[in-house]
Symmetry: C2
Subunit: 600 residues, 2 copies
């Protein structure tokens, strides 16, 4: 087996043909960069992924970290891999030069990170969380806090976590109980217990910076009384050297179905009087700051889901080409040789669906990365504001669609391998287990659907929604005058359905019981997600079509044909599903709403 | 947590209200039985499941059997559990009294076994395979073979396996290479290697009876040259005592994602000159005999998938009732108490979908069991023949639908538990892993779809298909004059779509390239499966409706309301999907057919 981690050709297509990575070099922030430096970063990531991540992924999965009541042990290969990625700059690839970053565009960084995610999402998880934590403090912390905490995270000395969930407050953050009491020196003493803290303890770095949501004594109830604190594992002296151990104790590890390389911990704060914590920004505004990190984490979750799907697709594709078995239905001659299983139409179905899901999902994540770039670096204020709004609107879809369809894609990878897909000689069963976390963490699919329908859609006079439709319409218009008018028409009809459904729901949210209107919110998320992915497939089709017509890359004709075929799959087999969702939504179907506890 | 393994109320509903288990006692074979003896068997199974299976399921999953090159070790609890089930008669519950069986109807046995499957499908796997193996020899073996092999299997002394797959012949049985050479004493010497043999070696029983597909020297190529042999692990003397070790060697164990209690083995036959094997039935007819066992195994796979879904549903239902978190969208008061998560409509969606999938799938499996009874014990020859035809027709659906929707159901159970569903403190992640095998073994979903469309549908002038439609129509007609005319109409329209699609395909199979017509066979299986499950939901709705109208069980009103609501879910959210599948089929959509290897 010589399966690629990712398709190199597809990464190039995504960066330079579907999105305009090269155009970013015209922006002041990226002026030092060129296609060469972009590709160098991607090649480095690919090299580290191949050399350090892939060879250990089975061992990482089988020998998960253990906790003896005192400390965590994990196989040393994880530290070697993490260090290699840190040394190559992948904990701070997008950060400013002044923090030791590479100042790469997020779009390019996402493509480079894709190799690391695909090769070892849990190993990569340590870096990604650290980067997101540093980014939050960078934006909301004081200059002193940036100096003290961000710099060591960007250099890889410290790691970072996000400590939100409590055992009685998972999706319901309003009810969290961890408390903060002001101390004389201006810091706080934090007490409480947090669960499911990824990377909550380990020895991969000198120190760990926890970002902890807690309630200052006397703060209002609910989400309006939550503040955010920097709580280090080890206190840090004025000169940046490590001081005493803070009052943060590891209380246990969870044993997860997948993602087993990354510790998921129970952390107890303040068992001995209170952990020292430093307020970040203003009191009681913690949740809004945390959303800075959480939005980044949500895009990250979508990306990990997409990358796990991409690599499972590559693996099963390679297997299907090399495995010979059976004959076509038209061939009844038992003396003829068995064919490569890719010759069976149903195997091609499973591969094409994987291609459509995973490359569609990845395109969506890269769109998110591009928007995240644009909102800070686009040349006009207007473009920046628009990108910001659009990214905000699309975040629940970027988080959920890859998370829902990534595991489906990995399930098909297993099915292509048959019995061999179910055993640990091949990694596809691990991908399937790993990917199942993604619809859960950083806000479940249900939470995302409420965010989209009840919050993001009506927000600011539906600006995000309208921007999104306008972007889709541009590509439909462009396609109408080409050979792709057929799929453009399919998408156009789907957009009409989406529009009328949306108008109905906006009206209903103002006039009908809100619990009833929101009861089918997941159907709305499903529908919107499918329209967005169909749009990105139409766009990929347009690029492929234009390239083929211009005969710019004659050797790539096969590649572009594959793009067109995956687009056709999505338009024919997936997009029509939106009609069922729309029907239920516009009827205010009350099946779930009416169902009673006692009827189950 | 006090989650039920299965809903007792639902088992009673299925047996005595949806199906007529009581009516079976009028048949001579079951004349000694009564509702009391049926319920006693079910209670015994429930007791064993609770006492021996549930307490060990986590340990069974975590400490899978190991092989040191000499022998297999497994935790002793498995043998205790298997012995308890054997002693209670569950390896031979349907067998004749003369073989030590209980002579239970398959319908009742399926309901009893459901407890064992739900509580420990892999532990139960040892018994189920033994029973299916014994059943095959019973039907196709000589009196002497029955005496020698069946009796000890029925009493639990011996276990049985099915040895088909080879490393280069999984789904493509035509290419299997294991050979058989006649010996002077009328037996054969078997040589070859088999993989994925469930229960291929262990010390749970005194001996293991392998049923091995092999090719007699000089036999025709392909499936027409395959014979079936009885190949024991240990040779058996004339008097039934154990003799020498046969030339059958365990070569290795596979490490599976789930189902970890049941060994999956590589067996080498004839490394030292040839394993002694005894021809079963006639030479070169082995595959047709194996289908006796395989058809039983296919129904068994569907049943295991359904039971794993049922128990995951019960577990997540219990969790949803006991877990308090969040508030309804209509409630903005952070001082109000959090609600039980079952109050959230989206959690009810996930529970109701599980109910619809798992109880629909289980009803289908019980229908299969009833037909398997009827084909041997129905009072008229006509009814027996009809049941035989209908079961044969439905087998690919009974195998696949629960196998495809069972894992989806278990995925929803994980989602209900959120982060807690992803860790091994709760069994739902194990159910999800266990269930993923079912769309693979005993013929993948792709293989089943070809069996349905290319083989079962046109067979004997479409008799099976026509019987099936007629049965569905009966319930539609019955429902039309009740309050359920709405769902009856939904089903009726779906049947029309199914009919026109089927007629189109029957025509196309005769006039168009067969590889093209069969390229979307999975869509046909999907469509037919959904219609059949919708039918079984309409039937459950009819029973519930009638019971409510008659106020026969006033305390059960809630239960019946739940049945009606699950029916509504299936009719509104699932059944409409068939339109997409039908469209693709009747257009002979060539997306998969046209896709080229090089385009991926």
């Amino acid at each position: 087996m010589t399966a690629a981690i990712l398709s190199e050709r597809d990464i190039q297509f995504m960066l330079y043909e579907l999105f305009d990575a090269e155009g970013l070099t015209a922006r002041p922030r990226y002026a030092d960069h060129s296609v060469d430096t972009f590709n160098a970063a991607i090649n480095t990531a690919q090299h580290i992924a191949s050399k350090y991540f892939v060879p250990i992924r089975k061992k990482v999965d089988e020998q998960q970290p253990t906790f003896d009541g005192e400390k965590i042990s994990m196989i040393p290969e994880i530290k070697i891999a993490v260090d290699a990625a840190i040394q190559a700059g992948f904990v701070s690839s997008t950060a400013n030069y002044e923090f030791g970053g590479m100042q790469l565009p997020l779009l390019v960084s996402a493509a480079a990170n894709a190799y690391l995610c695909a090769a070892g999402s849990t190993t990569m998880g340590y870096l990604a969380l650290t980067s997101a934590n540093a980014s939050l403090i960078e934006h909301h912390g004081t200059a002193e806090q940036v100096e003290k905490w961000v710099k060591p995270m960007r250099s890889g000395r410290f790691a970072g976590t996000m400590a939100m969930t409590e055992s009685s407050a998972g999706s319901g953050l309003a009810d969290l109980l961890t408390s903060a009491v002001p101390a004389d020196d201006g810091s706080y003493r934090i007490s409480g217990s947090k669960i499911f803290i990824s990377g909550g303890d380990h020895d991969l770095n000198e120190n760990i910076v926890h970002l902890v949501l807690a309630r200052i004594k006397g703060a209002p109830a609910g989400v309006k009384g939550i503040s955010l604190f920097i709580v280090p594992k080890i206190l840090v002296n004025e000169d940046g050297s490590l001081g005493e151990r803070n009052d943060v104790a590891l209380a246990g590890l969870f044993h997860k179905m997948g993602g087993r390389g990354q510790t998921s911990t129970v952390l107890n704060f303040g068992e001995n009087g209170g952990a020292v914590g430093y307020l970040l920004g203003e009191a009681n505004r913690g949740l809004s700051y945390m959303f800075h990190m959480m939005n980044e984490a949500r895009v990250m979750v979508g990306t990990i889901a997409a990358c796990t799907a991409l690599t499972g697709y590559q693996y099963s594709l390679d297997y299907a080409r090399e495995r010979f078995q059976g004959r076509l239905p038209s061939n009844n001659d038992p003396l003829s040789a068995p064919v490569s299983i890719i010759e069976h139409a149903d195997v091609r179905r499973m591969l094409l669906a994987q291609k459509a899901y995973s490359e569609g999902a990845f395109a969506l994540c890269l769109l998110g990365a591009q928007l995240a770039d644009d909102r800070h670096t686009a040349l006009s204020e207007d473009e920046r504001a628009k990108a910001d709004t659009l990214l905000d609107f699309l975040t629940p879809i970027i988080k959920s669609w890859p998370s829902e369809y990534g595991p489906k894609s990995n399930s098909l990878a297993i099915q292509v391998l048959g019995g061999h897909g179910y055993i640990n000689e091949h990694p596809v069963e691990m991908f399937y287990r790993d990917n199942r976390l993604n619809p859960i963490h950083e806000g479940t699919t249900g939470i995302q659907s409420l965010d989209l329908l009840a919050r993001k859609l009506p927000m600011n006079g539906q600006t995000g929604y309208l921007f999104c439709l306008a972007e889709i319409q541009k590509d439909i218009d462009a396609a109408m005058s080409t050979n792709l008018s057929g799929p453009a028409m399919q998408l156009s009809e789907a957009v009409s359905v989406l529009k009328s459904t949306t108008e109905f729901l906006l009206q209903a949210m103002m006039t009908k019981p809100i619990d009833l209107v929101l009861a089918n919110s997941v159907s709305y998320l499903d529908m919107f997600g499918h329209v967005v992915i169909a749009w990105l497939w139409l766009r990929q089709g347009l690029v492929a079509q234009a390239a083929m017509a211009a005969k710019l890359h004659p050797s790539d004709m096969d590649f572009y044909q594959g793009k067109l075929q995956a687009m056709t799959y999505f338009m024919n087999f997936e997009l029509p599903l939106i009609d069922v969702w729309s029907m239920r939504l516009t009827e205010l179907d009350a099946t779930f709403y009416d169902m009673k506890n006692n009827w189950f």
